[in-house]
């Protein structure tokens, strides 16, 4: 077992930690209070939940290349499981969330992951698309009505802070600390996971399944593992979602949310933790920003030409999301994170060389490509760690998509 490593750079992390620690009190402070309302504490708690969701989605789709359009359904499983355990079996919330996360991980790995490990790209997309559309109907089945409460869903009373800190923290602050604490721990674990041999195997799987197989990676097992771990994160997020919202119903999360999760990882940056953070910001604030657009347009009327010719701007929501998605994939395939990380070294998207192309080069007898391939899969020299790799200057084309290491800032 390798010991857990703390991602660099430490100073930034310490200041970030201090900021996160004092954040729910900032709205009480004299000057800062003018900029940050109390509601932002609740926003931040939801941000933590969305961060877990985006990490989960990113592990599956961004790192492992398994397209999931049904992630909302998986999060819903975690939320429902927590709700059922708390509401009907009176299990304390933290235990219920942990159990629900474990259950969701198991279900995701075995029930979804094992069958899904036989499917490739588009087929998996169809199956998960069908899952998320069907899931509300499944939850409403009279057969399991006793647990899920049908169309009504599960509602509980607010979960307050335990006795000792009760007077000190209000409801929103307590939820903030719990969710943020869990999300941060899981993010650090995520960093370690993606920089382990598991993470490298997932990336190899994404870049070329056949290539990964030839490198000795047990493809079905790793696929199921990616589904399992991803579902665990999603289930955890679902439990926290339920705790923050105190309600879950069949339509709480559906295809639209699943789609937004996809938008989040794509515009944030596929396969990076930094991108997941951007994605979580997107999920937290997208509704507010979009809803604010008509008011904003109104205030521009008369000063900027043409604005008055665009009525019903709020109905263009779908066009904005879809446009963002298409433009990002076509022009900035590495997303916002890639944009931030690569500001110094821009190169066109088309120059990205896939692992498959290298594999073909290996077949053709190009041994330079062979060694790069081996290195990318972490099989080459054992001394090399994922975070310390540097391509030799003569490698030419630069790093491929497969070596997208995230440096958390």
């Amino acid at each position: 077992m390798r010991r857990l490593s703390i991602p660099p750079p430490a100073l930034w992390l310490v200041s970030l930690a201090v900021l996160l620690l004092v954040f729910p009190f900032v709205h009480d402070w004299p000057v800062f209070g003018r900029f940050i309302s109390e509601f932002r504490t609740f926003n931040a708690a939801m941000f933590a939940v969305w961060l877990l969701v985006v990490l989960s989605m990113n592990l599956l789709t961004g790192y492992s290349g398994q397209i999931s359009l049904g992630h909302a359904a998986v999060v819903l499983v975690g939320a429902y499981m927590t709700g059922i355990l708390v509401d009907q079996y009176s299990i304390p919330m933290p235990v219920a969330i942990a159990l629900a996360a474990a259950f969701t991980g198991l279900v995701g790995g075995v029930v979804i992951g094992l069958p899904a490990s036989r499917l490739t790209g588009p087929y998996l997309a169809i199956a998960t698309f069908a899952l998320v559309i069907t899931f509300p109907q499944i939850l409403k089945l009279n057969l399991i009505d006793g647990w899920t409460n049908g169309a009504l869903g599960i509602r509980i009373r607010e979960v307050g802070a335990p006795g000792l800190v009760d007077g000190f923290l209000d409801q929103a602050q307590w939820l903030y600390y719990v969710t943020m604490f869990v999300a941060l721990i899981m993010a650090v674990l995520f960093w370690n996971l993606t920089h382990s041999r598991f993470g490298r195997a997932f990336v190899a799987l994404r870049d070329s399944e056949i290539g990964a197989e030839q490198m000795g990676i047990n493809v079905p097992m790793y696929k199921a593992l990616a589904f399992g771990i991803s579902s665990f994160y999603a289930g955890l997020a679902g439990g926290l979602f339920f705790m923050v919202q105190t309600f879950v119903g069949p339509e709480s999360l559906g295809f639209q949310q699943s789609f937004l999760f996809l938008v989040a990882i794509v515009i944030g940056g596929l396969g990076t933790i930094l991108g997941s953070v951007f994605g979580a910001f997107f999920l937290t604030f997208q509704a507010e920003v979009i809803d604010g657009i008509p008011r904003w347009a109104e205030s521009l009327e008369g000063r900027v030409p043409f604005v008055s010719f665009v009525p019903d701007l709020d109905r263009l929501r779908g066009v904005i999301y879809g446009g963002l998605l298409v433009i990002t994939v076509l022009l900035f395939p590495r997303g916002l994170a890639g944009f931030v990380q690569g500001m110094g070294s821009w190169r066109p998207a088309a120059a990205r060389e896939s692992l498959a192309a290298r594999l073909a080069a290996v077949r053709a007898g190009d041994f330079g490509a062979a060694s790069m391939l081996a290195r990318q899969l972490g099989l080459g020299r054992p001394a090399e760690r994922g975070d310390e790799r540097h391509d030799p200057p003569d490698a030419g084309e630069g790093r491929s998509n497969g070596a997208d290491d995230d440096k958390l800032g």
């Binding site: 359009l69 499917l119 490739t120 069907t134 109907q137 056949i210 779908g318 879809g322 446009g323 076509l330």
Partner: protein, 319 residues
């Protein structure tokens, strides 16, 4: 009267219709199958459109339903100004132009990339078309009733009836399938398109204008989708959400028949229509409604047991 049973329990006052099993009420069973085939022909046409694109470009078009919805709204606009048939064909032309333009502008760059990129782009198109339609035509449903061409009373044989609209839909579906079959099997153009789908590089080497074939494939598929949209709008009023669930059934149909087989798409569509009807009636009410879940179940089962579908060719793995 023994088919009506009062279920005691959660809602003691509700009487729930329990359908008699097929051997006791064969005419109900036959009726379900006939109307299932009729609604299934809608799924079949949309599935055909999906298969057309998947075969030629290996792209799964999640925007297929929304593109059809969009062109149907356009058809509706045309029909408020001219007769049904001219408006219908103008809409088809616009749809073809739109499909071709989309392939050229948006999908060309992702055609050779990983499947994730093309799925993301078509999903983006999905919401773009949905949002645009909402913005242009608003949330109120648009009725095609005044423009309907399949009017008149249902045609009955003893107890079993079929509506004119259903019959018309079925006939149109068969015509579309036949036309596509003739195009692909009997014309040089179809041969070129098939060659492009099979091996792009080799087709290019023998002088087929591959890029034009791909554009044509999308144009054709958008046209077929538009036919499906107009037919759907004849039976239910048209909103921006109308084709969403139909897309799911069409996917189920395409998977069942095999994503690369047009005969499969039709057989799959008809079977899904029948299955949907049967599951709506014969699944006991204690279970709940399962018509959407049935489509999901079909997809999962087919992918587990025979991923290539009933008529598809098993995919070869390529590096």
């Amino acid at each position: 009267m023994d088919s009506i049973v009062s279920l005691t329990g959660l809602w003691p006052d509700t009487a729930v219709m329990l359908a008699a099993p097929p051997w006791e009420d064969p005419s109900l069973f036959a009726q379900l199958i006939i109307s299932g085939i009729a609604s299934g022909s809608l799924f079949a046409i949309l599935a055909l459109a999906i298969v057309l694109i998947y075969r030629s470009t290996n792209i799964l078009n999640f925007a297929q339903g929304e593109m059809a919805m969009f062109t149907t709204f356009m058809a509706w606009t045309f029909m408020t100004r001219m007769d049904f048939w001219p408006a219908f064909f103008v809409a088809l032309l616009v749809a073809a132009a739109m499909g071709g333009a989309l392939e050229r502008l948006v999908l060309r760059p992702v055609e050779d990339g990983p499947p994730l990129n093309s799925v993301i782009v078509t999903l983006g198109l999905f919401t773009i078309f949905n949002g645009l339609a909402l913005w242009i035509w608003g949330p109120l449903p648009k009725g095609f009733g005044p423009f309907s061409v399949f009017k008149g009373s249902a045609i009955c044989a003893s107890d079993v009836c079929i509506g004119r609209l259903s019959l018309g839909t079925l006939i149109v579906a068969l015509i579309v399938m036949l036309a596509l079959y003739l195009l692909f099997q009997r014309t040089g153009l179809g041969l070129a398109m098939r060659a492009t789908a099979q091996n792009r590089l080799a087709s290019q080497l023998v002088g087929i204008p591959v890029n034009n074939m791909l554009t044509l494939g999308w144009a054709l598929s958008a046209t077929v989708g538009a036919v499906a949209g107009v037919l759907v709008a004849q039976s239910v009023s048209l909103t921006t959400g109308t084709l969403f669930v139909i897309l799911l059934y069409a996917f189920a149909a395409a998977v069942l028949g095999g994503l690369d087989s047009s005969i499969g798409a039709v057989v799959g569509g008809l079977s899904i229509g029948v299955l949907k009807n049967l599951s709506a009636v014969y699944v006991p009410p204690e279970v709940g409604s399962v018509d959407v879940a049935m489509a999901f179940l079909v997809i999962v089962l087919v992918l587990m047991v025979r991923p290539a579908g009933l008529f598809g060719r098993p995919a070869a793995r390529r590096v």
